[in-house]
């Protein structure tokens, strides 16, 4: 159960940060490039307007110049002053439109033409005014002679040429800008296509990352729930153990209490107490002592403080002694106990701990033996001491055979059998502490054979068969 936090997913903030930063960066780039393209569009739009204005103003100026020339010709031919009125209006328009052209022309090559245009316009206007003045002073003939020199016409043609050049250059510039705009539009389209796809890919990857992160989080939450369930199971096991342990202690205390009462009554009646009167309380006191030792062993084993005191000993002799001690219990359970441990099996083991192992195995065999015979054998085999305890009792289902060696575990019904679920666990730990092993062969309802192997034995290697036992 420990270590379940090892799989804890990181907070995931970096995933969100990096993902959002990438997507944000891409959006910023796309917007910036779009802004550049929009600016180009504005420029083109403004240039279209500018081109139109330039064309309009130059055309208007040239038309006004033609109107002024028409008025001049009418006056020269007729001498009537009323022809001078449109002339004056037209010359005013010429000046106004020329000023406008000077103001709005932007293209450097066009701006270079403006001074020449201004000079020519001024020359044309002076030529018109000079002929008008000559008509007024000297009559039609000298004035028309001056017109026929064709100087004025040449100036007009030059003005027309400059106006056309300004118009053409403006249109060229517009065409160039339109080409730039189309290129920019193409770039913008590609940007949108590529950027859009990239954005979708990034969003997809980001969504996958978030999904993975959420899955990891769900798995972690699942592990937390499992750990909570483990904890609940551990608490349930603990509660069951406390209940069973309380039960185990109550029975010997009950016997001690009632027996003491009986002894007091006997004493009060003047009866003589016999040594046998103390057998039951002694057994129950021993039982309490064993229970206490069992609980202390749990602590010792769990904390790794199981200190052994090895000594040279005969395991067979110890087995006979333990069996003799348990014969009354076997008789009470109507389970005949046969012992086969005739040959010495000598080794260096902790006598008290070996006694504990043998007691636990035999007690279990008697308790779960349903009154069937119990066979107890100790012999040497291949340099190891072997202890076998066979009963014909309730047996152990194969699925429970590993579990029964674990702490607080038991396979038998609590409705029928007392016990704290510690005996076999302690046996296994004690045997392991002696570098040995304990195994079980059993089937439900067909009895059990527990076998302990302890290395380092020096004994007569002559195991007795079942037929030889007892």
């Amino acid at each position: 159960m420990t270590g379940f936090l090892e799989g804890k997913p990181r907070s995931g903030a970096w995933i969100y940060t990096v993902g959002l930063a990438l997507i944000g960066l891409l959006i910023v780039v796309l917007i910036a490039r779009a802004l550049v393209n929009v600016q180009t569009l504005f420029d083109v739009g403004r240039l279209v307007q500018h081109s139109s204005d330039v064309e309009e103003e130059t055309q208007a100026m040239f038309s006004a110049l033609q109107d002024a020339e028409t008025g001049q010709r009418g006056y020269l031919l007729t001498g009537k002053p009323e022809y001078l009125s449109p002339y004056h209006v037209a010359t005013g328009d010429v000046h106004r439109h020329l000023l406008a052209v000077e103001a709005i022309v932007e293209i450097p090559s066009n701006r270079a033409l403006v001074p020449r245009l201004s000079t020519l316009v001024a020359r044309k206007l002076r030529e018109l005014q000079d002929t008008i003045d000559l008509r007024g002073r000297s009559g039609a003939t000298p004035a028309l002679a001056l017109v026929q020199t064709d100087v004025g016409n040449q100036v007009m043609e030059e003005i027309r040429a400059i106006c056309n050049e300004i118009k053409v250059k403006t249109r060229q510039r517009l065409d160039e800008r339109i080409i730039e705009f189309r290129q920019a539009a193409d770039v913008a389209r590609r940007d949108l296509e590529f950027g859009g796809v990239l954005l979708l890919v990034l969003l997809f990857l980001f969504a996958m990352l978030i999904r993975r992160h959420l899955r990891a989080r769900r798995r972690f939450e699942g592990r937390i729930l499992e750990s909570q369930a483990d904890l609940q199971r551990a608490l349930a096991v603990r509660d069951t153990f406390l209940s069973v342990a309380g039960h185990e202690f109550r029975t010997p205390i009950s016997v001690l209490s009632l027996t003491l009462e009986n002894l007091v009554r006997k004493t009060q009646k003047g009866e003589t107490l016999k040594p046998a009167d103390f057998d039951a309380p002694r057994r129950q006191a021993d039982r309490l002592a064993r229970l206490t030792e069992t609980l202390l062993d749990v602590r010792r084993i769990a904390s790794g403080h199981l200190d052994l005191e090895p000594e040279e000993m005969d395991l067979a002799a110890l087995a006979r002694e333990v069996a003799a001690r348990l014969q009354p219990q076997a008789l009470d359970a109507r389970a005949p106990l046969s012992v086969s441990a005739d040959q010495p099996v000598v080794g260096t083991w902790d006598r008290l701990r070996m006694e504990q192992v043998l007691m636990n195995l035999l007690t279990n065999a008697i308790k779960f033996g349903r009154g069937a015979p119990v066979e107890f054998r100790v012999f040497a085999e291949n340099g190891s001491a072997i202890v076998e305890v066979r009963d014909g009792g309730i047996g152990i289902d194969p699925k429970d055979q590993d579990r029964i060696f674990e702490r607080f575990e038991r396979a038998a019904s609590v409705q029928n059998y007392r016990g704290m679920g510690l005996g076999l666990w302690i046996c296994r730990e004690l045997v392991r502490a002696h570098q040995g092993k304990i195994t079980v062969q059993s089937a439900s309802g067909q009895g059990s054979l527990f076998r302990v192997e302890l290395p380092g034995s020096r004994g007569n290697e002559r195991p007795l068969s079942r037929g030889e036992a007892h």
């Binding site: 016997v255 209490s257 027996t259 009554r265 779960f368 059998y417």
Partner: protein, 127 residues
């Protein structure tokens, strides 16, 4: 009339028998439900059954179920003696006449038996 003691622990059976004997009560002790049913079927007169619950073979609950189904013995009062922490709950579940929790108080045990069984003055220890 006898008190039938059903408990798998020989020392418990012996201690209760001795105490009841000192109070003038006869008792028969067996170590599981099977033996108890055998005893009752043999016609041993019983005025009260002291029943342990956790026993190998036939346990207390199984014995009680069979006893209640047998009209010949179903009327015999039953008091459970148990170390179970939930003794009262078990008593209600099994619909018995009383419950004594281990460790048992001798005086309460005697007074409980007296409710159901007459004492035999000849058996009681002389005071």
């Amino acid at each position: 009339m006898n008190v039938l003691i059903i408990d798998d622990d020989a020392d418990v059976r012996e201690a209760i028998s001795l105490l009841l004997s000192s109070e003038g009560h006869h008792s028969v002790a067996v170590n599981d439900g099977h033996q108890a049913l055998e005893c009752l079927e043999q016609g041993v007169p019983v005025c009260l059954i002291l029943l342990d619950l956790m026993m190998p073979g036939m346990n207390g609950a199984e014995f009680r179920a069979k006893q209640r189904l047998d009209p010949r013995i179903s009327s015999i009062p039953v008091v459970i003696i148990t170390a179970d922490g939930n003794a009262e709950g078990k008593a209600r579940q099994l619909e018995v006449d009383g419950v004594l929790r281990k460790p048992m108080d001798a005086a309460i045990l005697v007074s409980t038996v007296r409710k159901y069984c007459p004492a035999d003055p000849s058996l009681a220890l002389p005071s």
